[in-house]
Amino acid sequence: MKPDFKNIINNDLREQEMEQEFLQAINNEHKLALRETLANVHSKDTKQTRQISRIEFKEDEFLTSIKDEHKLALRETLMDVHTKESQKKKLHIELFTSRRVQAIAASIVVFLMVGTSFLFDMNGSLTNEELFDQYYSTESSFLTVRSGNTANFSPLSEGMKYFEQANYNKALNAFKLAPDNMVVKLYSGFSYMELQKYDEAVKEFTGIIEQNDNLFIDQAEWNLALCYLMTDKTDKAKNILTHITNSNTIFNIRAQELLEDMGNN
């Protein structure tokens, strides 16, 4: 009985204290109003940033804005002035901080700085298409062809003849007569790439990879990655490239470089 009684009194007292505190708190109208304003400002602020950040794209508005050639030229000048100035500043800071380093070392730093900022500018603005152009070449694909294979296979040699003449449609027609040959598949893929029919090329290269028992898998993988790059399937391209970098093929280093160049694309 006794401890319970004590407890009740204690609880009661505590409640009373709390109630008083609460009443005091809300009694301070100024503080309450201030808090309300604060909450208001805060929510409006977050809402506002969201609103600002979502700028809708309207194509006709965009086209009108680039139609004003004078203004566009003025902006170009302005951006140019601004970029050059920021670069100059960067260089200046770098020079300044490296003053205690020997002269030669300093000049190397500057050289590297200029070099990397140049590279950065280039890579920063490289699109998938530009990357593709940089990494895709028909010639290097040619190098790994085994001439022996072409000897007794007439649709293939016929097709190869057209392929070398850059007559890709005719080459494809010839290749279609031997659809299950892996070399044919590979060169059909190349032909489609030349014709910029990347989805068709993907089918050919995938066929080679799925068959999984031939000498052209490396080639097929590398070019498949390029096709995905060109059709903006960046994630797929990255997956394959990562796979290639872990393999032991001649495309290993190129895949690494391409991955680096792709960066956050």
């Binding site: 680039i66 302005l78 903006d232």
Partner: protein
Amino acid sequence: MAKFSTERILAGIVENDRIVIQYVYDKYFASIKSYVLKHSGNDNDAWDVFQDSLMVVYEQAQSGNLTLKSTFITYFYSICKYRWLKQLRDRAPNQHEEFEYKSEVELFGYNKYTVEIDEALEQEERVRLYQENFLKLSKECQELFKLLAKGLTTKEITKELNYKSTGFTYKKRRLCKEQLLRRIKENNDKLKL
């Protein structure tokens, strides 16, 4: 550095005279930047303010209805300040009272232009976003969009750019548009920070 008169500066902006623009940038950007930084902005904000304000000057000077009673810099600063205070106000209306915003403008006697400048600045923000990102596109995409803006049909563009087929032009157009949208999205993401 040579000193240019107000008339010369305005003419230089209209004519896209690089020397004049370099002069305006060298002379005024730093102080506008420090103003923006002092008032809770960052480097990018400062650069946007400078660009938008200069474009408003361009628009007004080019339309011919700009007669300055003050020097160029008084006028330009007031637009820059107005532009920045406007952004602050838009971000958090309760924090920046109207009077501060107004007095800044009235101080320079531009209150009758306020509405005009307000509208002009509003427009400039979108135009900047479009033009800035357009200029960062590949030359090929720039060319394609310019022809589209001129109102050429896909067939005509295919011919003009020596493309293989109209299908290819459509594809290019889609890729270019994706490139542009990606850049605009990146811009938007930066704004969130």
